[in-house]
Symmetry: D2
């Protein structure tokens, strides 16, 4: 079964966009997500260690995040979670990706002006 | 255990904002969420019946959604799900609410200009 | 977009099973889900008001929950969330349903003996 | 914000249990989760590449999964998602963990007999 997940955090890199071989826009950026915990001793909310994800966007979402998102922006991202592992030069590498279906600026941290963009069918 | 949910759809009402008795901003709006299904016969993606939720926002999120969201805007909302039932004049009423932690414009449907807003501690 | 949700709580009714017109097993039961909150004054975890959902299961899952689940069992349920509203005799009725893809006994509350059941393709 | 996720798949290892320094039971096992996709050409559901997670359980859940789960069992697991990265001998290592709040056998794949276990408060 597919695994759906929503993460709330900050863009940890600029958005890098490219075209797939089939000519489809593909954008990627890194996202930092820090859990918040209520510390009973200090009576304060404190941040735990950040988890980092690679957010992958296709088609219209790829084009819109490229023109809307800057490094450091607070975001909410939802999509399908994947953990990819592969071997290179005798070492195992792991990447935790979210194939995003929706990305938005987190209005808990600021305000936004939105403009619809109608995409021609590809 | 709390139930966390993410919905992607459209604002189905304007945002109505008020102050709680404790002087905390509280904003509400309705949200329409339509499932999408691939119809194998027609080879097309089709929409199913919409589900409607009441989105509830507090403090800074309440103030920011009030100034950022219009009826019809495509949104992504994540938070805690509640189903409240109560009796009035012999009839049972039910409301399905999401106590939102984050709300954002869905950049799959357009572009946005974001501006951080620092809130004084209340 | 479809809305996926996971709820953790207790079976609030017995499982009722029937056959659809197409001859597919369909099982339903009610589920009570109570949020837990840490009460800083008392230093205790306390339960909030319960939310009630109708869990809908088809095919093999319908048959297996019928033979495995009793009213009161602690469960974890994941699937697609729907809020259906309809009018009857001038009154609006609302039901919050989860079309379950997986149901399991919550091993945080007890132990279980599992046995695979291979279903003939229907 | 914490990231909550639900995964449905199979236990990919036996459960290994130990005691933390504070004397709390801690159980771990690996889980394989394969996305399913409808292949329009063949008209069949096909599995994509599996993602692997380390499931971490504490206290009563740790004790109950140890006595209930075998390698290969179909499971549904819900909890908090973390991606931990650390450097060892000049190499970066990554592990994608779920701090489970609930684990259950997936009744879509079989039947189960459940027995409540009341834990003495620790």
């Amino acid at each position: 079964m597919d695994t759906y997940v929503t993460v709330v955090g900050n863009a940890a890199s600029e958005v890098r966009v490219q075209m797939t071989q089939a000519g489809v826009p593909l954008a990627r950026f890194r996202m930092a997500v820090s859990p918040r915990r209520f510390d009973r001793d200090s009576g304060q909310w404190v941040s735990g260690d950040a988890s980092f994800y690679t957010i992958v966007c296709f088609r219209g979402l790829a084009e819109n995040v490229t023109s809307s998102i800057d490094k450091g922006d607070p975001l909410v991202v939802t999509g399908r979670l994947r953990v990819r592992e592969w071997e290179r030069e005798g070492r195992w590498l792991t990447i935790t990706e979210i194939d995003a279906s929706s990305v938005g600026h987190d209005l808990a941290r600021g305000v936004a002006e939105f403009r619809r963009v109608a995409r021609p069918a590809r």
